[in-house]
Protein backbone atom coordinates (compact mmCIF):
# COMPACT_ATOMS: atom_id res chain seq x y z
CA UNK A 1 0.00 0.00 0.00
CA UNK A 2 1.31 3.30 -1.03
CA UNK A 3 1.73 5.95 1.57
CA UNK A 4 -0.57 8.99 1.12
CA UNK A 5 1.32 11.46 -0.88
CA UNK A 6 -0.49 14.69 -1.65
CA UNK A 7 -0.46 15.57 -5.28
CA UNK A 8 0.92 18.94 -6.13
CA UNK A 9 -0.99 20.82 -8.81
CA UNK A 10 -0.10 23.81 -10.80
CA UNK A 11 -2.75 26.56 -10.75
CA UNK A 12 -3.68 25.71 -14.28
CA UNK A 13 -4.07 22.08 -13.43
CA UNK A 14 -6.26 22.95 -10.48
CA UNK A 15 -8.48 25.22 -12.48
CA UNK A 16 -8.74 22.67 -15.24
CA UNK A 17 -9.62 19.97 -12.73
CA UNK A 18 -12.33 22.04 -11.00
CA UNK A 19 -13.66 22.99 -14.39
CA UNK A 20 -13.97 19.37 -15.43
CA UNK A 21 -15.63 18.45 -12.15
CA UNK A 22 -18.21 21.19 -12.57
CA UNK A 23 -18.81 20.48 -16.24
CA UNK A 24 -19.36 16.82 -15.63
CA UNK A 25 -21.84 17.31 -12.80
CA UNK A 26 -25.29 16.59 -14.29
CA UNK A 27 -26.94 18.57 -11.47
CA UNK A 28 -25.72 21.81 -12.90
CA UNK A 29 -25.14 20.96 -16.55
CA UNK A 30 -27.41 22.12 -17.93
CA UNK A 31 -28.71 24.40 -15.24
CA UNK A 32 -31.74 26.68 -14.96
CA UNK A 33 -31.33 29.73 -12.78
CA UNK A 34 -33.71 32.47 -11.77
CA UNK A 35 -32.25 35.82 -10.77
CA UNK A 36 -31.78 39.47 -11.56
CA UNK A 37 -29.29 40.83 -14.07
CA UNK A 38 -26.77 43.37 -12.76
CA UNK A 39 -23.62 44.98 -14.13
CA UNK A 40 -24.85 44.20 -17.60
CA UNK A 41 -22.39 44.98 -20.35
CA UNK A 42 -22.37 44.29 -24.07
CA UNK A 43 -19.01 44.28 -25.84
CA UNK A 44 -19.77 45.86 -29.17
CA UNK A 45 -16.64 44.45 -30.83
CA UNK A 46 -17.30 40.82 -29.98
CA UNK A 47 -21.06 40.91 -29.45
CA UNK A 48 -20.70 38.92 -26.22
CA UNK A 49 -22.81 39.85 -23.20
CA UNK A 50 -21.30 40.02 -19.70
CA UNK A 51 -23.32 40.35 -16.52
CA UNK A 52 -23.86 39.12 -13.02
CA UNK A 53 -26.93 37.17 -11.96
CA UNK A 54 -27.92 37.83 -8.39
CA UNK A 55 -30.58 37.28 -5.76
CA UNK A 56 -30.90 39.01 -2.40
CA UNK A 57 -27.81 37.36 -0.91
CA UNK A 58 -25.53 36.12 -3.69
CA UNK A 59 -24.29 36.83 -7.10
CA UNK A 60 -22.62 34.82 -9.85
CA UNK A 61 -20.87 36.01 -12.96
CA UNK A 62 -22.33 35.06 -16.30
CA UNK A 63 -21.53 35.40 -19.97
CA UNK A 64 -23.57 34.91 -23.10
CA UNK A 65 -21.69 34.55 -26.36
CA UNK A 66 -22.72 36.31 -29.50
CA UNK A 67 -24.14 33.27 -31.27
CA UNK A 68 -26.60 32.68 -28.44
CA UNK A 69 -27.20 36.35 -27.75
CA UNK A 70 -28.30 36.97 -31.34
CA UNK A 71 -31.25 34.64 -30.91
CA UNK A 72 -32.66 36.66 -28.03
CA UNK A 73 -35.92 38.40 -28.91
CA UNK A 74 -35.42 41.01 -26.20
CA UNK A 75 -32.47 43.01 -25.01
CA UNK A 76 -31.28 42.09 -21.50
CA UNK A 77 -30.57 44.98 -19.18
CA UNK A 78 -29.55 45.49 -15.56
CA UNK A 79 -32.40 45.14 -13.09
CA UNK A 80 -34.31 42.72 -15.27
CA UNK A 81 -35.55 39.47 -13.66
CA UNK A 82 -34.77 36.51 -15.86
CA UNK A 83 -34.94 32.76 -16.04
CA UNK A 84 -31.91 31.47 -17.85
CA UNK A 85 -30.56 28.23 -19.10
CA UNK A 86 -26.84 27.52 -19.31
CA UNK A 87 -24.00 25.50 -18.00
CA UNK A 88 -21.62 26.11 -15.16
CA UNK A 89 -17.92 26.20 -15.86
CA UNK A 90 -14.69 27.87 -14.89
CA UNK A 91 -12.82 30.64 -16.61
CA UNK A 92 -9.45 29.06 -16.22
CA UNK A 93 -7.35 32.21 -16.45
CA UNK A 94 -8.99 33.78 -13.39
CA UNK A 95 -10.07 30.63 -11.66
CA UNK A 96 -13.48 32.15 -11.58
CA UNK A 97 -16.50 30.02 -12.02
CA UNK A 98 -19.31 31.42 -14.07
CA UNK A 99 -22.50 30.60 -15.88
CA UNK A 100 -22.38 30.30 -19.64
CA UNK A 101 -25.87 31.33 -20.71
CA UNK A 102 -27.36 29.65 -23.76
CA UNK A 103 -30.86 31.11 -23.52
CA UNK A 104 -32.68 33.57 -21.39
CA UNK A 105 -36.33 34.58 -20.76
CA UNK A 106 -37.62 37.57 -18.87
CA UNK A 107 -39.23 36.34 -15.67
CA UNK A 108 -42.93 37.20 -15.55
CA UNK A 109 -43.73 38.83 -18.86
CA UNK A 110 -42.88 36.76 -21.92
CA UNK A 111 -39.72 37.47 -23.84
CA UNK A 112 -41.73 38.62 -26.83
CA UNK A 113 -43.76 41.01 -24.71
CA UNK A 114 -40.57 42.47 -23.30
CA UNK A 115 -38.96 42.67 -26.73
CA UNK A 116 -42.09 44.38 -28.02
CA UNK A 117 -42.01 47.01 -25.28
CA UNK A 118 -38.29 47.55 -25.71
CA UNK A 119 -38.45 48.10 -29.44
CA UNK A 120 -41.55 50.24 -29.09
CA UNK A 121 -39.79 52.49 -26.55
CA UNK A 122 -36.66 52.69 -28.65
CA UNK A 123 -38.38 53.61 -31.90
CA UNK A 124 -40.74 55.97 -30.13
CA UNK A 125 -37.73 57.76 -28.62
CA UNK A 126 -36.31 58.10 -32.14
CA UNK A 127 -39.52 59.77 -33.20
CA UNK A 128 -40.49 57.09 -35.69
CA UNK A 129 -44.08 57.06 -34.43
CA UNK A 130 -44.55 60.81 -34.95
CA UNK A 131 -47.36 61.47 -37.36
CA UNK A 132 -45.48 64.47 -38.73
CA UNK A 133 -42.86 62.27 -40.38
CA UNK A 134 -45.33 59.80 -41.87
CA UNK A 135 -46.18 60.28 -45.53
CA UNK A 136 -49.82 61.25 -46.10
CA UNK A 137 -52.17 58.79 -47.77
CA UNK A 138 -53.24 59.63 -51.31
CA UNK A 139 -56.97 60.21 -51.78
CA UNK A 140 -57.12 58.51 -55.14
CA UNK A 141 -54.26 56.01 -55.50
CA UNK A 142 -53.88 54.60 -58.97
CA UNK A 143 -51.46 51.84 -57.90
CA UNK A 144 -51.87 49.87 -54.67
CA UNK A 145 -48.89 47.77 -53.60
CA UNK A 146 -49.70 44.70 -51.51
CA UNK A 147 -47.05 43.00 -49.40
CA UNK A 148 -48.36 39.81 -47.84
CA UNK A 149 -48.33 36.08 -48.27
CA UNK A 150 -49.14 34.91 -51.78
CA UNK A 151 -51.41 32.22 -50.42
CA UNK A 152 -53.26 33.37 -47.31
CA UNK A 153 -56.86 34.42 -46.89
CA UNK A 154 -55.53 37.92 -46.21
CA UNK A 155 -54.55 38.39 -49.85
CA UNK A 156 -57.92 37.15 -51.07
CA UNK A 157 -59.71 39.55 -48.70
CA UNK A 158 -57.54 42.48 -49.78
CA UNK A 159 -58.07 41.80 -53.48
CA UNK A 160 -61.83 41.40 -52.96
CA UNK A 161 -62.15 44.72 -51.19
CA UNK A 162 -59.95 46.56 -53.70
CA UNK A 163 -61.84 45.26 -56.74
CA UNK A 164 -65.23 45.94 -55.16
CA UNK A 165 -64.47 49.44 -53.90
CA UNK A 166 -62.06 50.86 -56.44
CA UNK A 167 -61.54 48.66 -59.48
CA UNK A 168 -59.74 51.47 -61.35
CA UNK A 169 -56.63 51.07 -59.19
CA UNK A 170 -53.90 48.79 -60.37
CA UNK A 171 -52.89 46.22 -57.72
CA UNK A 172 -49.26 45.19 -57.56
CA UNK A 173 -48.58 42.18 -55.39
CA UNK A 174 -45.22 41.37 -53.88
CA UNK A 175 -45.66 37.96 -52.23
CA UNK A 176 -43.51 37.43 -49.14
CA UNK A 177 -43.15 34.96 -46.35
CA UNK A 178 -45.02 36.48 -43.40
CA UNK A 179 -43.87 34.20 -40.61
CA UNK A 180 -40.83 32.22 -39.67
CA UNK A 181 -37.13 32.73 -40.10
CA UNK A 182 -36.24 35.44 -42.62
CA UNK A 183 -39.80 36.68 -43.07
CA UNK A 184 -39.08 40.13 -41.64
CA UNK A 185 -36.13 40.54 -44.01
CA UNK A 186 -38.39 39.64 -46.94
CA UNK A 187 -41.05 42.11 -45.87
CA UNK A 188 -38.44 44.86 -45.42
CA UNK A 189 -36.89 44.09 -48.80
CA UNK A 190 -40.31 44.23 -50.47
CA UNK A 191 -41.01 47.67 -48.96
CA UNK A 192 -37.62 48.93 -50.15
CA UNK A 193 -38.20 47.50 -53.62
CA UNK A 194 -41.54 49.31 -54.00
CA UNK A 195 -39.79 52.53 -52.96
CA UNK A 196 -36.84 52.07 -55.28
CA UNK A 197 -39.08 51.36 -58.26
CA UNK A 198 -41.67 53.95 -57.20
CA UNK A 199 -44.09 51.19 -58.07
CA UNK A 200 -47.07 52.16 -55.90
CA UNK A 201 -48.92 55.17 -54.47
CA UNK A 202 -49.83 53.35 -51.26
CA UNK A 203 -48.67 50.08 -49.68
CA UNK A 204 -50.70 47.56 -47.74
CA UNK A 205 -48.46 45.47 -45.48
CA UNK A 206 -50.09 42.74 -43.49
CA UNK A 207 -51.23 39.21 -42.89
CA UNK A 208 -54.13 37.35 -41.33
CA UNK A 209 -54.50 36.44 -37.68
CA UNK A 210 -52.22 34.10 -35.75
CA UNK A 211 -50.32 33.70 -32.51
CA UNK A 212 -47.92 36.35 -31.25
CA UNK A 213 -45.09 34.27 -32.67
CA UNK A 214 -46.84 34.06 -36.05
CA UNK A 215 -47.17 37.84 -36.19
CA UNK A 216 -43.63 38.40 -34.94
CA UNK A 217 -42.17 39.45 -38.30
CA UNK A 218 -44.22 42.65 -37.96
CA UNK A 219 -42.67 43.38 -34.57
CA UNK A 220 -39.09 43.19 -35.71
CA UNK A 221 -36.85 46.19 -36.00
CA UNK A 222 -35.88 45.49 -39.61
CA UNK A 223 -39.55 45.55 -40.64
CA UNK A 224 -40.31 48.62 -38.54
CA UNK A 225 -37.37 50.54 -39.97
CA UNK A 226 -38.26 49.65 -43.54
CA UNK A 227 -41.80 50.93 -42.95
CA UNK A 228 -40.47 54.09 -41.30
CA UNK A 229 -38.10 54.73 -44.21
CA UNK A 230 -40.79 54.22 -46.83
CA UNK A 231 -41.62 57.32 -48.85
CA UNK A 232 -44.72 55.53 -50.06
CA UNK A 233 -47.35 55.68 -47.30
CA UNK A 234 -47.87 52.31 -45.63
CA UNK A 235 -51.10 50.94 -44.22
CA UNK A 236 -50.45 48.20 -41.72
CA UNK A 237 -53.09 45.48 -41.40
CA UNK A 238 -51.83 42.66 -39.25
CA UNK A 239 -53.93 39.97 -37.57
CA UNK A 240 -57.18 40.87 -35.87
CA UNK A 241 -58.68 43.93 -34.21
CA UNK A 242 -56.85 43.29 -30.95
CA UNK A 243 -53.40 42.65 -32.39
CA UNK A 244 -51.07 45.60 -32.22
CA UNK A 245 -47.66 45.41 -33.87
CA UNK A 246 -44.67 47.74 -34.04
CA UNK A 247 -45.40 47.96 -37.74
CA UNK A 248 -48.77 49.53 -36.85
CA UNK A 249 -47.07 52.31 -34.95
CA UNK A 250 -44.60 53.34 -37.66
CA UNK A 251 -47.08 52.98 -40.54
CA UNK A 252 -48.98 55.98 -41.87
CA UNK A 253 -52.16 54.22 -40.81
CA UNK A 254 -53.06 51.20 -38.71
CA UNK A 255 -55.91 49.03 -39.91
CA UNK A 256 -57.41 46.41 -37.59
CA UNK A 257 -57.35 43.70 -40.30
CA UNK A 258 -55.97 43.19 -43.82
CA UNK A 259 -59.40 43.78 -45.41
CA UNK A 260 -59.82 46.93 -43.33
CA UNK A 261 -56.43 48.04 -44.66
CA UNK A 262 -57.76 47.62 -48.20
CA UNK A 263 -60.88 49.63 -47.28
CA UNK A 264 -58.71 52.43 -45.97
CA UNK A 265 -56.32 52.35 -48.93
CA UNK A 266 -58.86 53.30 -51.59
CA UNK A 267 -62.02 55.37 -51.82
CA UNK A 268 -65.36 53.76 -52.67
CA UNK A 269 -65.92 54.29 -56.39
CA UNK A 270 -69.70 53.98 -56.02
CA UNK A 271 -69.69 56.70 -53.41
CA UNK A 272 -67.50 58.88 -55.60
CA UNK A 273 -69.81 58.36 -58.54
CA UNK A 274 -72.82 59.28 -56.45
CA UNK A 275 -71.04 62.34 -55.19
CA UNK A 276 -70.16 63.41 -58.72
CA UNK A 277 -73.77 62.93 -59.84
CA UNK A 278 -75.01 65.06 -56.97
CA UNK A 279 -72.47 67.76 -57.66
CA UNK A 280 -73.34 67.71 -61.37
CA UNK A 281 -77.04 68.10 -60.62
CA UNK A 282 -76.26 70.95 -58.28
CA UNK A 283 -74.09 72.67 -60.86
CA UNK A 284 -76.80 72.27 -63.48
CA UNK A 285 -79.35 73.86 -61.19
CA UNK A 286 -76.90 76.61 -60.45
CA UNK A 287 -76.21 77.47 -64.08
CA UNK A 288 -79.89 77.23 -65.07
CA UNK A 289 -80.75 79.64 -62.26
CA UNK A 290 -77.99 81.93 -63.40
CA UNK A 291 -79.20 81.93 -67.00
CA UNK A 292 -82.73 82.61 -65.71
CA UNK A 293 -81.46 85.50 -63.63
CA UNK A 294 -79.60 86.95 -66.59
CA UNK A 295 -82.66 86.57 -68.77
CA UNK A 296 -84.75 88.50 -66.26
CA UNK A 297 -82.20 91.25 -66.17
CA UNK A 298 -82.23 91.41 -69.95
CA UNK A 299 -86.01 91.46 -70.00
CA UNK A 300 -86.13 94.47 -67.71
CA UNK A 301 -84.31 96.44 -70.39
CA UNK A 302 -85.76 94.76 -73.44
CA UNK A 303 -89.29 95.20 -72.00
CA UNK A 304 -88.87 98.83 -71.05
CA UNK A 305 -91.24 101.35 -72.68
CA UNK A 306 -88.53 102.83 -74.84
CA UNK A 307 -87.17 99.54 -76.19
CA UNK A 308 -90.55 97.88 -76.62
CA UNK A 309 -92.17 100.79 -78.39
CA UNK A 310 -89.46 103.03 -79.73
CA UNK A 311 -92.04 105.21 -81.54
CA UNK A 312 -92.48 106.95 -78.18
CA UNK A 313 -89.18 108.57 -78.95
CA UNK A 314 -90.88 110.17 -82.00
CA UNK A 315 -94.30 110.68 -80.40
CA UNK A 316 -92.88 112.85 -77.71
CA UNK A 317 -91.05 114.88 -80.21
CA UNK A 318 -94.05 115.14 -82.52
CA UNK A 319 -96.18 116.36 -79.67
CA UNK A 320 -93.53 118.80 -78.71
CA UNK A 321 -93.33 119.99 -82.30
CA UNK A 322 -97.10 120.50 -82.43
CA UNK A 323 -97.02 122.33 -79.17
CA UNK A 324 -94.21 124.51 -80.41
CA UNK A 325 -96.04 125.27 -83.58
CA UNK A 326 -99.23 126.43 -81.87
CA UNK A 327 -97.20 128.35 -79.36
CA UNK A 328 -95.34 130.17 -82.08
CA UNK A 329 -98.53 130.87 -83.95
CA UNK A 330 -100.28 132.39 -80.97
CA UNK A 331 -97.15 134.34 -80.17
CA UNK A 332 -97.15 135.77 -83.67
CA UNK A 333 -100.82 136.58 -83.42
CA UNK A 334 -100.20 138.44 -80.22
CA UNK A 335 -97.35 140.32 -81.77
CA UNK A 336 -99.50 141.44 -84.69
CA UNK A 337 -102.31 142.65 -82.48
CA UNK A 338 -99.86 144.63 -80.42
CA UNK A 339 -98.39 146.12 -83.60
CA UNK A 340 -101.77 147.13 -84.82
CA UNK A 341 -102.64 148.88 -81.58
CA UNK A 342 -99.35 150.70 -81.57
CA UNK A 343 -99.91 151.82 -85.13
CA UNK A 344 -103.32 153.33 -84.45
CA UNK A 345 -101.94 155.11 -81.40
CA UNK A 346 -99.17 156.57 -83.50
CA UNK A 347 -101.65 157.56 -86.19
CA UNK A 348 -103.65 159.54 -83.60
CA UNK A 349 -100.55 161.34 -82.47
CA UNK A 350 -99.50 162.05 -86.04
CA UNK A 351 -102.89 163.58 -86.79
CA UNK A 352 -102.58 165.97 -83.84
CA UNK A 353 -99.26 167.20 -85.16
CA UNK A 354 -100.49 167.66 -88.74
CA UNK A 355 -99.45 171.17 -90.25
CA UNK A 356 -102.90 171.47 -91.82
CA UNK A 357 -104.30 171.86 -88.32
CA UNK A 358 -101.85 174.74 -87.73
CA UNK A 359 -102.82 176.42 -90.99
CA UNK A 360 -106.47 176.29 -90.03
CA UNK A 361 -105.60 178.27 -86.92
CA UNK A 362 -104.43 181.18 -89.17
CA UNK A 363 -100.77 180.38 -89.72
CA UNK A 364 -99.37 180.45 -93.28
CA UNK A 365 -96.20 178.97 -94.73
CA UNK A 366 -94.21 181.12 -97.22
CA UNK A 367 -92.08 179.23 -99.71
CA UNK A 368 -90.03 180.12 -102.78
CA UNK A 369 -88.57 177.71 -105.26
CA UNK A 370 -89.66 174.80 -102.96
CA UNK A 371 -87.84 176.29 -99.95
CA UNK A 372 -89.69 177.46 -96.84
CA UNK A 373 -88.82 181.03 -96.00
CA UNK A 374 -88.37 181.52 -92.31
CA UNK A 375 -86.05 184.62 -91.80
CA UNK A 376 -86.42 188.32 -92.68
CA UNK A 377 -83.45 188.15 -94.96
CA UNK A 378 -85.33 185.59 -97.06
CA UNK A 379 -87.79 188.30 -97.86
CA UNK A 380 -85.75 190.85 -99.84
CA UNK A 381 -88.01 193.59 -101.27
CA UNK A 382 -89.45 192.38 -104.54
CA UNK A 383 -89.04 188.73 -103.72
CA UNK A 384 -91.82 186.63 -105.14
CA UNK A 385 -93.09 183.81 -102.99
CA UNK A 386 -96.07 181.61 -102.43
CA UNK A 387 -98.05 181.46 -99.25
CA UNK A 388 -99.60 178.16 -98.16
CA UNK A 389 -102.86 178.76 -96.30
CA UNK A 390 -105.48 176.34 -94.96
CA UNK A 391 -107.37 175.91 -98.20
CA UNK A 392 -104.83 176.83 -100.91
CA UNK A 393 -101.89 178.91 -102.09
CA UNK A 394 -101.56 182.69 -102.45
CA UNK A 395 -98.93 184.33 -104.68
CA UNK A 396 -97.30 187.36 -102.96
CA UNK A 397 -94.42 189.91 -103.33
CA UNK A 398 -92.33 191.18 -100.39
CA UNK A 399 -92.32 195.01 -99.92
CA UNK A 400 -90.09 195.58 -96.96
CA UNK A 401 -88.96 193.70 -93.89
CA UNK A 402 -87.83 194.57 -90.47
CA UNK A 403 -85.95 192.34 -88.14
CA UNK A 404 -86.94 192.11 -84.52
CA UNK A 405 -84.11 193.11 -82.28
Amino acid sequence: MEAYKPKIYTVSQLNRYVKSVLEEDPAINPVFIVGEISNFKRYEASGHLYMSIKDSQSSVRAVMFRGDAQRLKFTPESGMSVILCGRVSVYERDGAYQVYISDMQPDGAGALAVAFEQLKNKLSAEGLFDDSRKPALPKFPSRVGVITSGEGAALRDILNVLSRRYPVAQVILCPVQVQGEGSSAQIAAAIRLFNEKKAADVLIVGRGGGSVEDLWAFNEEITARAVAASVIPVISGVGHETDFTICDFVASLRAPTPSAAAELAVPDAAELKNDILMKTAYLNRLIINEVGRMRKRLEVCAGSRVMKNPSVLLDDRRRYLDESRSASESALEKRLTAGRAQLSALAGRADALSPLKVLSRGYAVPASDGRVLVRTEDFKPGTRFSLRVSDGTVQAVAESSERNV
Binding site: T280, V291, L298, C301, S304, V306, P310, L313
Partner: protein, 60 residues
Protein backbone atom coordinates in the same frame (compact mmCIF):
# COMPACT_ATOMS: atom_id res chain seq x y z
CA UNK B 1 -65.33 83.49 -76.50
CA UNK B 2 -65.44 86.95 -78.05
CA UNK B 3 -68.88 87.94 -76.81
CA UNK B 4 -68.79 89.68 -73.43
CA UNK B 5 -72.22 89.16 -71.95
CA UNK B 6 -71.68 91.23 -68.85
CA UNK B 7 -70.29 94.21 -70.74
CA UNK B 8 -73.13 94.03 -73.27
CA UNK B 9 -75.70 93.87 -70.49
CA UNK B 10 -74.19 96.91 -68.78
CA UNK B 11 -74.29 98.80 -72.05
CA UNK B 12 -77.95 97.91 -72.59
CA UNK B 13 -78.85 99.12 -69.12
CA UNK B 14 -76.95 102.34 -69.64
CA UNK B 15 -78.63 103.01 -72.96
CA UNK B 16 -82.10 102.23 -71.62
CA UNK B 17 -81.59 104.62 -68.73
CA UNK B 18 -80.40 107.32 -71.11
CA UNK B 19 -83.29 106.79 -73.53
CA UNK B 20 -85.79 106.92 -70.69
CA UNK B 21 -84.34 110.13 -69.36
CA UNK B 22 -85.31 111.86 -72.63
CA UNK B 23 -82.33 114.15 -72.49
CA UNK B 24 -80.80 113.07 -75.77
CA UNK B 25 -81.06 114.53 -79.21
CA UNK B 26 -83.24 112.57 -81.60
CA UNK B 27 -80.25 111.54 -83.67
CA UNK B 28 -78.50 110.24 -80.58
CA UNK B 29 -81.64 108.49 -79.36
CA UNK B 30 -82.08 106.63 -82.62
CA UNK B 31 -78.45 105.65 -82.78
CA UNK B 32 -78.50 104.33 -79.19
CA UNK B 33 -81.81 102.56 -79.71
CA UNK B 34 -80.38 100.69 -82.67
CA UNK B 35 -77.32 99.76 -80.65
CA UNK B 36 -79.41 98.53 -77.70
CA UNK B 37 -81.70 96.50 -79.94
CA UNK B 38 -78.66 94.81 -81.50
CA UNK B 39 -77.13 94.06 -78.10
CA UNK B 40 -80.41 92.67 -76.73
CA UNK B 41 -80.59 90.33 -79.69
CA UNK B 42 -77.01 89.15 -79.09
CA UNK B 43 -77.57 88.66 -75.36
CA UNK B 44 -80.78 86.78 -75.94
CA UNK B 45 -79.09 84.52 -78.47
CA UNK B 46 -76.23 83.99 -76.02
CA UNK B 47 -78.62 82.92 -73.27
CA UNK B 48 -80.43 80.56 -75.62
CA UNK B 49 -77.12 79.00 -76.59
CA UNK B 50 -76.02 78.75 -72.94
CA UNK B 51 -79.26 77.01 -71.99
CA UNK B 52 -78.87 74.65 -74.90
CA UNK B 53 -75.34 73.78 -73.86
CA UNK B 54 -76.33 73.15 -70.25
CA UNK B 55 -79.14 70.89 -71.42
CA UNK B 56 -76.76 68.95 -73.62
CA UNK B 57 -74.19 68.60 -70.81
CA UNK B 58 -76.86 67.45 -68.37
CA UNK B 59 -77.94 64.77 -70.80
CA UNK B 60 -74.44 63.40 -71.21
Amino acid sequence: MDFDYEASMKKIEEITAKLESGELSLEESLKLFEEAAGLIKSCSAFLDAAEQRVKKLAEE
